[in-house]
Amino acid sequence: MSDDPINSHHHPPVLSPAALRAKAIEALLLEKGLLASDAIDRIVEIYEKDVGPLNGAKVVARAWCDPTYKRRLLKDATAAIAELGFGGIQGEHMTVVENTPKVHNVVCCTLCSCYPWPVLGLPPAWYKSIAYRARIVREPRVVLREFGLDLPKSVEVRVWDSSAEMRYLVLPERPPGTAEMSEMELASLVTRDSMIGVARIEAPSR
């Protein structure tokens, strides 16, 4: 990533102060032997490519297909998610909250950006924005409408503020017209936004 073919034979590119600081810290850690460059590469690669919302989608699809799994998931989410092989940093102390026709759940982290990495990957920019963190608690229906989700008044909205002690994943409602679908097909319907709770899952058009 640092081998930029365009700049390597010219003057070094002008770095932003943050980029410069990051580079200095990395060089220092390498020199001290505290980190190897490929250890950083490996972690970045994992979080850019392997760990993402598809993991959470598999959890949701399993819960839709297997009522006993769903019970375990709602009772002890961390353990039930680990059954599918997902866990690690930011994956501890998980709680799954279930959407129903009467209750819609949405997740935020007002203090920083707690987010269940092992099942959703790294949070999108909007999740970390001060606008989302502040407004989803104050006016959840308005914010959800901006996301294109207009909930009727009869639906109760519950906002869950994640923290180090508790991280939330929304179990969205299984859309109608999916009775014949396999668990894998179902997983492909589940979006990241639906597991944060800013979207519902649409019935497949087929």
């Binding site: 990533m1 640092s2 003057h11 070094p12 002008v14 770095l15 932003s16 943050a18 980029a19 410069l20 600081r21 990051a22 580079k23 200095a24 810290i25 990395e26 060089a27 220092l28 850690l29 001290k32 505290l34 980190l35 250890a39 950083i40 590469d41 972690i43 970045v44 979080y47 850019e48 940093i89 930011q90 203090l111 920083c112 950006s113 707690c114 990957g121 790294l122 999108p124 920019a125 909007w126 970390k128 924005s129 001060i130 606008a131 989302y132 407004r135 914010v143 901006e146 996301f147 180090a164 979006t191 990241r192 936004d193 800013v198």
Partner: protein
């Protein structure tokens, strides 16, 4: 790249709007991914617990929020990492400064 640049521009122009876009890249710039990777790698090596990092990150974000300053999320992440490294005695501020100076383009040395 244009998409990323556009999104950054949109964020700057409209700070109260919640930028939302599915499938967006996780990191906007390469240094952000390096900082993220370093913070996780040092935690994996047992140099600190993730919650210790998280506390510093909350501190950086809330102070940025309170001062209305425009630090990005990963600038806060970087500051949290640096402060935690100093607190844990992993390195000294002067050492980081020395490396930062060494990476400056030539013309900046004269200031």
């Amino acid at each position: 790249m244009n998409r990323i640049a556009n999104r950054i521009a949109a964020d700057i122009n409209c700070p109260a709007a919640i930028p939302r876009r599915n499938g967006e890249p996780v990191f906007r710039e390469p240094w952000e991914s390096r900082v993220f990777g370093m913070a996780v790698a040092l935690c994996e090596r047992g140099l600190y617990d993730w919650d210790e990092f998280r506390e510093r990150l909350i501190g950086e974000i809330s102070s940025a929020d309170a001062h209305g300053d425009t630090s990005t999320y990963y600038e806060c992440f970087l500051a949290a990492l640096e402060h935690l490294m100093l607190d844990k005695g992993i390195c000294l501020r002067e050492e980081i400064d020395r490396y930062a100076t060494a990476h400056l383009p030539d013309e900046d040395h004269e200031h």
